[in-house]
């Protein structure tokens, strides 16, 4: 299920990425869930795609997070308990941290946040990411790989308190980090495009079945997506593995 609401805008290409990976995605409006016309339990993967849900008013993703935790708390909790997969990309990641589902896998207090970029503005650019060792099923088999994805956000600076950061690192919940040309995590702009703590670009929950990331893997599933595909012979689009892993895990 690709969840849509007012201001969602990466839904179509995210659905296409899942189709390419062998999934059967459906676009579902949050109103359909609230009205009971659609049920989360009928799906194996919940995706909250990129966009500006409700204009990112107050804080990015906040209004949708409040809506989900107010009306769909039980349904989401049951979905998680039943082993459902949840993926939040960009605005979806912002929603997931604001529900509490990331980093600790439970709807509850907000333990981490995504702040205004250090540059104070929306930026769209391609960045390098290193896939980290983590329990995450979306990145299974890819640890150590360096991939290039596009970021396009104004509020992507991962931030949390020292205790939570320590827990995230200790339990290996970081799924992606921004890295420099040498493949080393970096705090330097623009390789780290927003000033995220510990160069964190994406995290997973302890079960590995919930993941959120700021960069857009769905914008790197076709050869022509890469900004320099003309310079790269035999380029294999680097975003595909995430969707393939998700579909494989959901079918398992």
């Amino acid at each position: 299920m690709i969840l849509r609401t007012d201001g969602t805008n990466c839904d179509v290409e995210t659905a296409y990425a899942f189709e390419q990976a062998g999934g059967s995605p459906r676009l579902v409006h949050v109103n359909q869930l609230r009205a009971g016309k659609e049920r989360l339990s009928a799906y194996r993967i919940l995706v909250i795609p990129g966009g500006f849900s409700y204009g990112d008013d107050i804080l990015s993703g906040k209004i949708l997070a409040v809506e989900l935790t107010s009306f769909l708390r039980e349904e989401i909790s049951r979905f998680v308990a039943a082993g459902g997969l949840i993926l939040g990309i960009c605005n979806g990641f912002q929603v997931l941290v604001r529900t509490g589902l990331l980093p600790l896998g439970e709807i509850g207090p907000v333990r981490a946040t995504l702040m205004v970029n250090d540059s104070a503005r929306f930026e769209c650019r391609w960045v390098r990411l290193r896939v980290e060792e983590s329990p995450c099923v979306f990145t299974r088999g890819a640890a150590g790989r360096v991939v290039e994805f596009q970021v396009a956000h104004g509020e992507g600076r991962f931030f949390t308190d020292a205790a939570t950061l320590n827990e995230i690192e200790k339990r290996s919940l970081v799924a992606f980090r921004y890295v420099d040309a040498g493949g080393r995590p970096t705090q330097d702009y623009p390789d780290n495009p927003n000033g995220s703590l510990n160069a964190i670009a994406g995290i997973t929950d302890p079960s590995g079945r919930i993941m959120g990331l700021m960069p857009h893997p769905e914008r790197n599933i076709l050869r022509r997506h890469h900004p320099n595909w003309r310079r790269l012979k035999d380029y294999v689009p680097a975003g595909r593995f995430i969707f393939e892993n998700a579909v494989a895990a959901a079918k398992a």
Partner: protein, 944 residues
């Protein structure tokens, strides 16, 4: 009592937004006394108690992990000064709706209204005057914002039920008619007399609604009086401008290629597999001049709705932005009264386009920025939108009598009243104060959900006809849709933002994010259901009739009853005459430079050449997953490309190419050759990435000083240029717009803004794989210059400008040879022989080669022919010329047989450009220094 919640970052955390303000204080205002700025968000709620406000703070407004809050007390107490900035009452704050929704979701009851604003905390030893300057120049645009000096008593806007007035035009003298028109109707005396005569015949006086709708429908903005006028040039009558352009299109458009031209909200061409592409380019100069953020944002919103309102509804797939400003470092004393500083304008216009396009999820991928001091009186803000639509739904819809008039989207408020008439008027020093109402800030999410709903309705075939509610509001949208039938609407059914609007205000309001659809009676229920499912408000206002009249009621009272015929055809064709006197600027004497690297750096850091990357990066290019050639590419993303390539059908390789061209300063010298240059540049940009020159269509935008005397003659020549170009290249114009009010009349100055002709181009290509980028692909490859030019034609060039000269010799692009050149370049790219391509434009060959090298991560050695003057060779800006990097083993003589082609040199591994002249070394410049010069100007403005 209102509850106030203040939310700010924890004191230990950097405040990036505050630092951004500080950067602007230091760079734009050169004020050094402010040491730090922090920001606090202020929320106000009406109808709830402090406990409920605290609950909202905890659950909605503040996240303790990085923020703190206070209820009904200050948050920052140690600042030297606090300043709160809020929207003026009546300006729609888009956040208010979200606050109400989320509070409702959280179960908070009794909330009547909510608002938000920003409080700035200043630290340092600044003076009151400095703070006043910061407030006035950076933080508060008094058109829409105000400093909050005391806590407001209420957030609810009230008002008496609106009334209709009768305007006694039948008995008015000419002086009274003129007085009625000034600052409100913007009609001339002759037009006012026509209205007087019409109502004398009817034997009654008009309502205010009737006078207003006539003024609006007859405004230059809506009816294009000049473009439809009979034109007499030097005593000889020529066909109206619009007729000339349409006739050219009729002659050159290929069957099956152009599906709809000049009749709908955008022009449509065929794509592939039953799909079609549409395009529209608009200007939003006047609103952007007085409120740049909202003006530019609503410009984008409006042009998106033009695409959404094409046929039975299109999906917007791309946005473009083209701006002209005065230099950002213009001394404040040189800015005319009533005008805003270009540094502020540039940053705010970019922010407006950014926020609207990004939030709508529409990639903004193609644009440019041009600078000239005379744009200080009024900027040019051009926004384009392109769409994808099933070919079967691409024809303009026709309502049938009995169809419902349905308004969809946002509510109607007092905003934007008189926008159409105001846009048609020249700016004066009174513009800022008298016409402030004509501006609003835009609500992209409202438009996004409306777009989602309308596409769903279209796919169920529920829309008979649809149009944007833009300039002129319901009056224009319903009046135009019902022109052939008739329409009857009930104004009191329109959902309002607040009470107190007079009927004529409801009729004329230009509140954004509204569209009007004609829906068959049997489809209304389903249409409304789809809207509800998408959180979109939709209301049946009335119906289309067969009376041939435009009628409106308000609470039982008839406030409008006009014949559609008088409304749309009552205005007589104008007759305009002018004579053309060619200007006589001198051709300057320019010395051959000694410091070559210095000259190259000055050319590359000229405002019309330099990198615009900090602007481009704030636009989302990748959303929709369609981008196949980004604005910047190559090594480190350092090389700019000429056009955008999109693949809007994700599972198909079919490509859309979008580009544009303009060079306003050339029109100052000669609008004919300036016009040819703009069109040739637009098509060159498209061809340089691989577009097929026979599969393109054109859009014109004329932004001209008030067309009187010589400016009318120049406009005539610019139209001729478009027509000649269209016929020579066999490329049809399918849409266009004119904005003929680029004249500023102040108390002590008249400024004619440089005439702008912007040509946009879009087209199709069966395989995105056969497109090419501009960055060099490696060392040792042959470089050629393809195209026809006379190197000494430097009139209007950047090179002349660096010497303070304009010159006379605008490059005269040879229309006879251009088609073969375009075909040859396209053929070479399609064959795979071209590794990189870039067209020559502002900054000349030097700039083209440098930009290719920046993205290539390698250099080039270029040999200039013995007989040429090296500076002319490097800095000539003739459009229709290309620098190509050829694949090894390619023979240029064979590839470009029959078209002008010369070998320039080769790419080299060293990161430098080496030039020789007649076999002797001329100079070598390291790429690093060239690139630093190229990046410097916009880096300074945007701090990136």
């Amino acid at each position: 009592m209102l509850q106030e919640v203040r939310v700010g970052l924890l004191p230990a955390l950097r405040d990036a937004r505050g630092e951004e303000v500080l950067y602007e204080i230091r760079t734009a205002l050169r004020i050094e006394t402010v040491e730090a700025v922090r920001t606090v968000k202020v929320y106000r709620f009406e109808g709830i108690d402090a406990e409920a406000a605290r609950f909202l703070a905890e659950r909605l407004l503040c996240e303790a992990v990085f923020q703190e809050y206070r209820v009904n007390e200050p948050l920052i107490t140690d600042a030297d000064r606090l300043l709160e900035v809020a929207y003026r009452p009546g300006v729609m704050n888009p956040e208010a709706g979200s606050l109400l929704k989320a509070a409702g979701d959280l179960g908070v009851e009794g909330l009547l209204a909510a608002d938000s604003s920003v409080e700035y905390a200043f630290y340092g030893r600044f003076t009151d005057e400095e703070l006043a300057t910061i407030t006035r120049r950076l933080l508060v645009n008094e058109t829409i914002q105000q400093v909050v000096r005391e806590k407001p008593q209420t957030l609810l806007l009230g008002g008496e039920r609106g009334r209709t007035g009768i305007i006694p035009v039948r008995t008015m003298s000419d002086a009274e008619l003129v007085a009625l028109s000034q600052d409100r109707l913007f009609l001339n005396l002759e037009e006012m007399r026509l209205i007087q005569e019409y109502f004398r015949k009817l034997g009654r006086d008009p309502t205010d609604a009737e006078v207003e709708i006539l003024a609006q429908t007859w405004s230059e903005h809506c009816v294009h009086k000049t473009f439809k006028a009979r034109i007499i040039v030097d005593g000889r009558e020529k066909k109206p401008f619009l007729t000339r352009l349409r006739e050219a299109t009729a002659r050159v458009a290929r069957p099956g290629q152009v599906l709809s031209a000049f009749v709908d909200n955008s022009g449509v061409m065929a794509f592939y597999d039953g799909w079609a592409l549409c395009g529209k380019v608009e200007t939003h100069n006047a609103p952007s001049a007085i409120e740049p953020y909202g003006g530019a944002a609503t410009g984008s919103g409006g042009v998106f709705r033009d695409v959404m309102g094409t046929g039975q509804g299109a999906k917007v797939i791309a946005s473009t932005d083209i701006f002209c400003f005065a230099p950002p470092d213009t001394p404040p004393g040189e800015i005319p009264a009533g005008c805003l500083h270009p540094h502020y304008l540039l940053r705010r216009v970019v922010a407006g386009v950014r926020d609207y396009g990004n939030r709508m999820g529409i990639p903004t991928n193609n644009g440019s920025v041009h600078f000239h001091p005379d744009f200080r009186a009024k900027p040019t803000v051009i926004v384009g939108a392109y769409g994808l639509i099933p070919a079967a739904r691409a024809q303009k819809g026709r309502p049938r009598p009995g169809d419902a008039v349905v308004v969809v989207g946002g509510r109607t408020g007092r905003d934007g009243i008189h926008g159409a008439t105001f846009s048609s008027a020249a700016m004066t020093d009174r513009t800022m104060t008298v016409n402030a109402q004509a501006v609003q800030i835009g609500h992209a999410i409202e438009e996004k959900r409306m777009a989602d709903a309308l596409l769903a309705a279209r796919d169920e075939d529920l829309i008979r006809a649809i149009t944007d509610c833009g300039a002129g509001g319901f009056a224009s949208a319903v009046g135009e849709m019902g022109a052939e039938t008739g329409a009857l609407i009930y104004l009191d059914r329109a959902p309002l933002k607040y009470s107190g609007l007079a009927p004529w205000e409801i009729l004329l309001s230009e509140s954004q994010e509204r569209m009007v659809a004609a829906v068959a009676p049997e489809d209304v229920a389903r249409f409304m259901e789809i809207c509800r499912e998408h959180n979109v408000e939709a209301t049946v206002l009335g119906e289309f009739t067969d009376t041939g009249r435009f009628e409106a009621y308000y609470g039982g009272e008839k406030v409008l009853d006009l014949e559609m015929g008088f409304l749309h055809h009552g205005l007589p064709q104008r007759v305009l005459s002018c004579s053309h006197t060619p200007g006589e600027p001198e051709e300057p004497e320019i010395p051959v430079p000694g410091d070559w690297e210095g000259v190259c750096c000055r050319v590359l850091s000229h405002l019309n050449v330099c990198s615009k990357e900090p602007i481009v990066r704030v636009y989302d290019h990748g959303v929709q997953g369609t981008n196949a050639l980004p604005p910047y590419g190559g090594v480190g993303g350092a090389g700019p490309n000429d056009a955008v390539v999109l693949t809007p059908l994700l599972d198909r390789p079919y490509a859309v190419v979008i580009a544009h061209g303009l060079n306003p300063v050339l029109n100052r010298i000669d609008a004919y050759w300036g016009g040819i240059w703009a069109a040739a540049e637009a098509v060159s940009n498209a061809v340089a990435v691989g577009a097929d020159p026979e599969e393109l269509v054109l859009i014109d935008n004329f932004i001209w000083p008030v067309p009187e005397g010589e400016y009318l003659a120049q406009l005539d020549r610019a139209v001729d240029a478009c027509v000649d170009f269209s016929l020579a290249l066999k490329l049809p114009f399918i849409s266009g717009k004119d904005s003929l009010s680029s004249t500023y009349r102040g108390r002590d100055a008249v400024i004619h803004i440089p005439p702008v002709l912007c040509i946009s181009v879009f087209g199709r290509l069966p395989d995105a794989g056969k497109t090419v980028s501009a960055d060099f692909k490696g060392a040792g490859n042959l470089l050629v210059l393809v195209g026809d030019r006379r190197e000494e034609e430097l009139g209007g060039s950047v090179y002349y400008d660096l010497h303070g000269e304009l010159g006379r010799s605008v490059p005269r692009v040879d229309l006879g040879r251009l088609p073969a050149i375009f075909r040859a370049v396209h053929g070479a790219i399609a064959s795979g022989a071209v590794l990189a391509a870039h067209d020559v434009s502002e900054g000349g060959l030097l700039t083209a080669v440098a930009e290719m090298a920046f993205g290539g991560g390698c250099g080039a050695e270029i040999s200039l022919p013995e007989k040429t003057r090296p500076d002319f060779y490097l800095f000539n800006e003739t459009a229709g010329c290309f620098v190509l990097e050829l694949a090894p083993g390619t023979a240029p003589g064979v590839l470009f047989a029959g078209v002008p082609c010369q070998v320039l040199g080769r790419t080299v591994p060293e990161p430098e450009l080496r030039f020789s002249h007649g076999g002797r070394p001329l100079f070598t410049a390291p790429l690093e220094r060239l690139r630093a010069a190229y990046r410097r100007p916009m880096k300074e403005v945007f701090g990136a």
